[in-house]
């Protein structure tokens, strides 16, 4: 123990005490710094794995794809994909990656698009915006891809939006936030349904049930904040009062505290808006504290794992969702039925896990891109981009897409179906 350190504190402190106190504090502060590292840094430092190329059969894969002169022997189309395959948004990114690889393989086996095979370059962002941005720059500047599919989350998409627009590369985002396509940017498109439409469907259902006073909770992340803002904005239109709005950390492991607060306001329903596992927690915690009012959740709830994790408590949860989860229950005449059943069966046969709506967003993105290439009869970025804006009646997993130069999402609120949970399964919601 160094003796001199005691001197700084003057003679009334015993040297020994000071040294020991200091040492204790020092160890603890090092430990504290370590914790911060463990807690935040490491989670974000998931290194991007080496690029996967699917399939790299064509020998001409390295040459940049010029406009094809002989369509039959055409150069492959390079498509980049940025998904959060690992990290906190992995339950979005992982099925998206699997879906994209399956889609490209099927297209290539069938002879490609207009004779062009597709070369898919999948990159893992780990759900981190900064990583997504550097991957996007790499895909645009070095790989010179025709289009980028993804990223999985709204935060990442917003981070790369400008880079794609300036780099004149088509972006087909798989993230939900409305701000991706509003304000409009000419190269930016997205496939998931809009937040505002989800909120509208929820409020319509509430109006139907005669609910006028609700409590809103949301995770304090991009998806949660955007949803809470839409709910607050649209509530007056439907005559609903939001008595209390609270947000919680995305890593939350117990919500009884904040739900008690809602209980104190005598709300008639709870709306929870998040994509985190808190979706199961909120259902459980509501029942546990005896807050027995209807629970509405966002379209983020469309993953059966949340129902399994939440058990019985999730029965009766009402949420808007694409039709993938209830494909079997759709009437035979429904335009989406065929597409949904095929995607679901292919995915489940190949990966031995349930298909989720998130994988469907990647399916739709690739579908729109390939349809646009067919329609344009070209692989030139400018022509394909213009072709997307004219696509009408493209039947995808998320809905029937009708694009226009002012609508880069192509879906309206009819793309959502209200679902509920019955005996641990997703079923169509019907008013009782």
């Amino acid at each position: 123990m160094p003796k001199e350190s005691g001197g700084w504190f003057g003679p009334w402190w015993s040297e020994r005490q000071v040294c020991m106190g200091m040492r204790y504090v020092r160890i603890l502060s090092v430990a504290l710094a370590g914790l911060v590292l463990v807690g935040s840094g490491c989670k974000k430092s998931t290194p991007a794995p080496p690029t996967k190329t699917t399939p790299a059969k064509a020998p001409a894969a390295k040459a940049p794809a010029p406009a094809a002169q002989k369509p039959a022997e055409a150069a492959p189309i390079k498509v980049g994909a940025i998904f959060a395959v690992t990290g906190p948004a992995a339950n979005l990114g992982a099925p998206e990656q699997k879906t994209a690889e399956m889609f490209v393989e099927q297209i290539n086996q069938a002879g490609g698009v207009n004779g062009h095979k597709i070369t898919l370059l999948v990159k893992d962002s780990g759900g981190v915006s900064a990583t997504a941005l550097s991957l996007a720059k790499q895909l645009i500047d070095e790989q010179k891809v025709l289009a980028i599919i993804g990223p999985s989350t709204s935060g990442e998409t917003m981070a790369i939006k400008d880079a794609c627009q300036e780099g004149k590369t088509i972006l087909l985002s798989c993230a939900a936030a409305e701000t991706i396509v509003n304000p409009l940017a000419s190269y930016i498109f997205k496939t998931p349904q809009k937040d505002s439409d989800a909120a509208r469907r929820i409020f319509e259902t509430m109006k139907d049930k005669g609910i006028t006073k609700v409590g809103v909770i949301s995770s304090s992340d991009g998806f949660g904040n955007a949803g809470a803002a839409q709910l607050a904005k649209l509530a007056p239109e439907y005559g609903v009062t939001i008595a209390i709005a609270e947000s919680y950390a995305a890593t939350e492991t117990d919500l009884t505290g904040v739900l008690t607060k809602l209980k104190g306001q005598d709300v008639q329903a709870v709306v929870d808006w998040t994509i985190t596992p808190a979706q199961s927690l909120v259902a459980k915690n509501m029942k546990q504290i005896g807050l027995n009012v209807p629970l509405f959740q966002s379209h983020g709830f469309g993953n059966i794992k949340y129902v399994q994790a939440g058990g019985e408590a999730t029965n009766g949860t009402i949420f808007p969702c694409g039709r993938l989860l209830v494909a079997e229950a759709l009437p035979g005449t429904h335009p989406q039925k065929q597409v949904l059943l095929k995607y679901k069966q292919d995915y489940e046969a190949r990966y031995k896990e349930d298909a989720s709506t998130f994988g469907g967003h990647a399916y739709d993105a690739l579908l729109i891109l390939t349809e646009a290439v067919k329609k344009a009869g070209s692989t030139e970025t400018e022509k394909v981009r213009a072709a997307i804006e004219t696509l009408q009646g493209v039947v995808g997993t998320g809905g029937v897409f009708n694009f226009s130069p002012t609508d880069h999402n192509g879906l309206n609120k009819d793309a959502f179906e209200m679902l509920t949970v019955e005996n641990g399964r997703f079923v169509l919601y019907t008013k009782k």
Binding site: G21, R23, L32, V38, D254
Partner: protein, 296 residues
């Protein structure tokens, strides 16, 4: 605010606090025998719970949990033998950094062994909608399991450290490794034992809280942060104080949620940690002089 609502906030605080407490106990065992703060403690919890969830597919619940605890215990021992023992004479700081590395390694391994989805063990008693009513407010029976398990663990540890030869040998090593060696205690095995013990207790904690918190591969770190705060708050090395401190922090957070926007809840633990480090680094329940002696 009416009375049942106040009780409800209290029960909510106890729910959260019981989770913090049971996590904190694991930190204390390794600290009190080696002076190391094991940052892989949170990962022990998740490994235990994940293993139990997998085993539960084919085995009854109690057997799945028992096996998961045993497997995690062995893993904890192996971890010490392979990674900590070879650098045993290094400074405590280096060992702490090693445990940080291990936590990252284990987390990534879990992502590959299992998946990124959220899982959960079934409730030990009743289901996710069962409640116990206390004074007009409600609490999940699983929380009582968590509290009961914490109590059993703390009581067991106290008896182990006070009255069994092995437990006393472990304490002797913590006090003065040299003197303990001279008395014929194999101090290296005592350290291994402390890792095994804390891995096993971590795994048990992970299983008991799994129905409440749910389990996902990357949940260890956030849980460990709270557990660590609580361990410091109570005074490192003191398991009984850790339980009291856990409940205290839980109640404090519930109070903050009831009075302020609930986003501030996350700041509570950090503010408490900073205040404790500055004003009372030995913890709430340890007398200053004893803390100073221990630090020497």
């Amino acid at each position: 605010m009416n009375f049942p609502l106040i009780v409800q906030y209290g029960l909510s605080g106890i729910t959260v606090g019981s989770i913090y407490a049971i996590v904190a106990v694991g930190f204390n065992i390794i600290y009190s025998t080696t002076g190391i703060i094991n940052f892989a403690q949170g990962e022990f919890l998740i490994i235990g719970a994940m293993t139990a969830i997998s085993l539960y597919q084919i085995l009854p619940l109690w057997l799945a949990i028992a096996l998961a605890v045993i497997m995690t215990t062995i893993l904890g021992g192996l971890m010490e033998v392979v990674f900590i023992r070879p650098v045993r004479n290094a400074s405590v700081l280096r060992l702490i950094v090693i445990t940080i590395g291990l936590s990252i390694l284990i987390r990534e391994a879990m992502l590959h062994i299992w998946d990124e989805q959220v899982h959960s063990l079934p409730y030990f008693t009743g289901t996710s909608i069962s409640t116990v009513t206390i004074l007009g407010a409600h609490i999940s029976p699983q929380v009582l399991w968590v509290l009961g398990t914490s109590a059993v663990i703390v009581a067991g540890l106290t008896i182990f450290f006070r009255f069994t030869p092995t437990g006393r040998a472990m304490r002797a090593c913590a006090d003065d490794p040299m003197a303990a060696c001279l008395c014929g205690i194999n101090d290296r095995w005592m350290v291994t034992l402390s890792f095994m013990l804390s891995a096993g207790i971590g795994a048990l904690a992970g299983c008991v809280i799994s129905p409440v918190t749910q389990t996902q591969y990357d949940m260890g770190a956030p849980l460990a942060i709270k557990g660590f705060t609580v361990a410091i708050l109570g005074g490192l090395g003191n398991s009984m104080a850790a339980v009291a401190a856990g409940l205290l922090l839980g109640l404090l957070e519930a109070f903050v949620v009831s009075q302020f926007a609930s986003v501030y809840k996350e700041a509570v633990a950090i503010v408490v940690l900073l205040l404790i480090l500055v004003f009372r680094p030995t913890g709430l329940f340890v007398r200053r002089e004893i803390g100073a002696l221990r630090a020497a």
